[in-house]
């Protein structure tokens, strides 16, 4: 205590915190341009649509009931399916990558991590567009498949659910790798060797030791991939067809094309509820697993 408390506690707590007021403008801004609009969306989701697209302030739950229509249900269902599939594929691709990076020489680790993160920092639109070039009828993917003799005629790749999932995996893979890397890096290699020494097969080592101990990273990465995948707009808009619409496209469609703002707002809130549930799940898991092994 005597050694470090001299430098760990902040200056004496004065009764009023004058410097705290510095946060006020930013908080005000976020309240006005973030919380207020969200509240507005929430309010509108209980209003009715006017004849020409406006809003009629009549309290109703009709918008939420409308969501039970099979058409919306299908879009919601396939959004969840695409996001789940994306998360799973990201895990399968990302885990080996994270493992290799975490076990590579210390001075290479930042470089490799940077290589994984770099595409994320480039324009999302452009990255999605790159797949349009690759996947279109006369694109590189089809040329390659024909040259290899896998298929005779070009496949319909673009504007399919496959293209959407590829685009989502491509967009959010870095989100999976980063938390997994952190988790694997913290995993003591001696534990793996100890399990091996105790007659565990490689599969058993993976499922009984590596997976449980990297669980925080797995949960974190999955949430980080699942959330933006579920709410994505650009990827299904550019790579998907009319049949592979996702919630994001539905919201945009209701707002800008159909101009049914109340319904669009209701869809937005359903999306937000799912996202918040995923975040809550993550925090609960994080709180539970901050045990002696992970605690820092």
């Amino acid at each position: 205590m005597s050694s470090h408390d001299l430098s760990s506690s902040p200056a004496p707590a004065r009764s009023s915190c004058r410097s705290c007021w510095l946060a006020a403008p930013g908080l005000l801004w976020m309240g006005l341009f973030f919380l207020a609009p969200l509240a507005l969306v929430f309010a509108i989701s209980f209003a009715s649509r006017g004849t020409y697209g406006g809003i009629v302030w009549e309290l109703t739950s009709a918008n939420y009931l409308d969501l039970w229509h099979p058409l919306y249900g299908k879009i919601l269902g396939q959004s969840l399916w695409y996001a789940t599939l994306t998360t799973a594929i990201c895990f399968v691709l990302g885990f080996p990558l994270a493992y290799v990076i975490a076990r590579s020489p210390a001075r290479w680790q930042p470089v490799l991590l940077l290589l994984v993160m770099l595409p994320f920092w480039t324009n999302f639109l452009v990255r999605t567009y790159a797949w349009m070039i690759l996947l279109r009828q006369d694109g590189l993917a089809n040329s390659l498949l024909i040259a290899l003799g896998v298929v005779d005629a070009p496949l319909e790749l673009l504007y399919t659910p496959t293209a959407v999932v590829i685009g989502l995996v491509y967009g959010y893979l870095p989100f999976m790798v980063l938390p997994l890397y952190v988790a694997v890096e913290r995993l003591d290699p001696l534990l793996v060797e100890a399990a091996w020494d105790l007659y565990a097969s490689r599969w058993a080592v993976f499922t009984r030791v590596v997976i449980p101990l990297t669980m925080p990273g797995i949960v974190g990465g999955s949430v980080l991939v699942f959330i933006p995948s579920l709410g994505s707009f650009i990827t299904p808009d550019l790579l998907g067809g009319a049949r592979s619409m996702m919630i994001g496209n539905l919201i945009q469609h209701e707002y800008l094309v159909v101009r049914d703002w109340p319904l669009g707002s209701a869809v937005s809130f359903v999306l937000m509820a799912i996202v918040m549930a995923a975040v809550a799940l993550y925090y609960r898991h994080a709180a539970r697993t901050t045990g002696p092994l992970e605690g820092r």
Partner: protein
């Protein structure tokens, strides 16, 4: 796990090819002379030249830069002050604000876009450059606050106590110790905010009026009307720009003492 390491390396190499292949192909084809087919017809810079003569594109670039500059300045000021102000708050209040700051980063961007659009429509504000800037400041404030806060927390509190002990008043402590030590983090935050603003599509899409076309909006409408080599060239330029700013941001972070 030595025996498994070849398998692991193989999958990771594939993942790397997967990450960089499409970008590489995109850049490569921006130099292809062929107009419509994917067949290689020799190298050319004409698509880049064509961009230079596209008036609408130049106007969009100007809009993008203006929005990025203003929103970066606004967010850095508001977010930086917020980080400083939060420091002395009771812990519970700090946690609440921090949780609130994560919200804009996790909620779907589409939703942020429509929510802002609704607000502006309700407030009868004409959609245009101003509304886009207001919106960009919203998603940049959390980024700036979190980055500067992270650095603030890593600062040894003894440094500021030492300055006070040596006779510095609270302004002098800030001016001579806190600010210089935060500088790399501030520049890092500026670059991140600038890049994110420059690349943003969705919030801009919903809050921009007809006159306020930005670069990503322009790229989107070009893509929607058909794949052309000009888009390849423009995309390649945007890629280079983002990568350069990330490289600069990382360089600044590394200089942090």
């Amino acid at each position: 796990m030595r025996r498994g390491s070849t398998g692991l390396s193989l999958v990771s190499s594939l993942a790397m090819v997967f990450l960089y292949g499409p970008i590489f192909v995109l850049v490569l084809y921006s130099f292809n002379a062929a107009h419509l087919s994917m067949a290689w017809r020799g190298t050319t810079l004409k698509w880049y030249a064509a961009l230079w003569h596209d008036e609408a594109l130049l106007a969009a670039t100007e809009n993008s830069l203006l929005i990025a500059v203003i929103s970066t300045i606004g967010a850095t000021l508001l977010g930086g002050l917020m980080a400083l102000g939060m420091e002395r708050m009771p812990l519970r209040r700090q946690q609440i604000i921090e949780g609130g700051l994560v919200l804009p980063l996790v909620i779907p961007e589409v939703m942020m876009g429509v929510a802002l659009m609704l607000l502006f429509v309700m407030l009868k504000m004409p959609l245009g450059l101003t509304t886009v800037m207001l919106g960009h400041i919203v998603f940049n404030i959390p980024l700036v606050t979190i980055m500067i806060r992270t650095r603030l927390r890593k600062l040894d509190p003894a440094l500021r106590e030492a300055a006070a002990d040596l006779g510095a008043n609270s302004w002098q402590v800030f001016r001579h110790v806190t600010l210089p030590l935060l500088r790399p983090a501030i520049w890092g935050a500026v670059l991140v905010a600038f890049t994110v603003s420059l690349d943003d599509f969705l919030v801009t899409f919903f809050t921009a009026g007809p006159g306020a076309t930005t670069l990503p909006l322009k790229v989107y409408s070009m893509i929607k009307s058909g794949v052309t080599p000009e888009i390849n060239a423009l995309s390649a330029l945007l890629l280079v720009m983002s990568m350069a700013s990330v490289a600069l941001a990382l360089h600044l972070q590394r200089r942090e003492v």
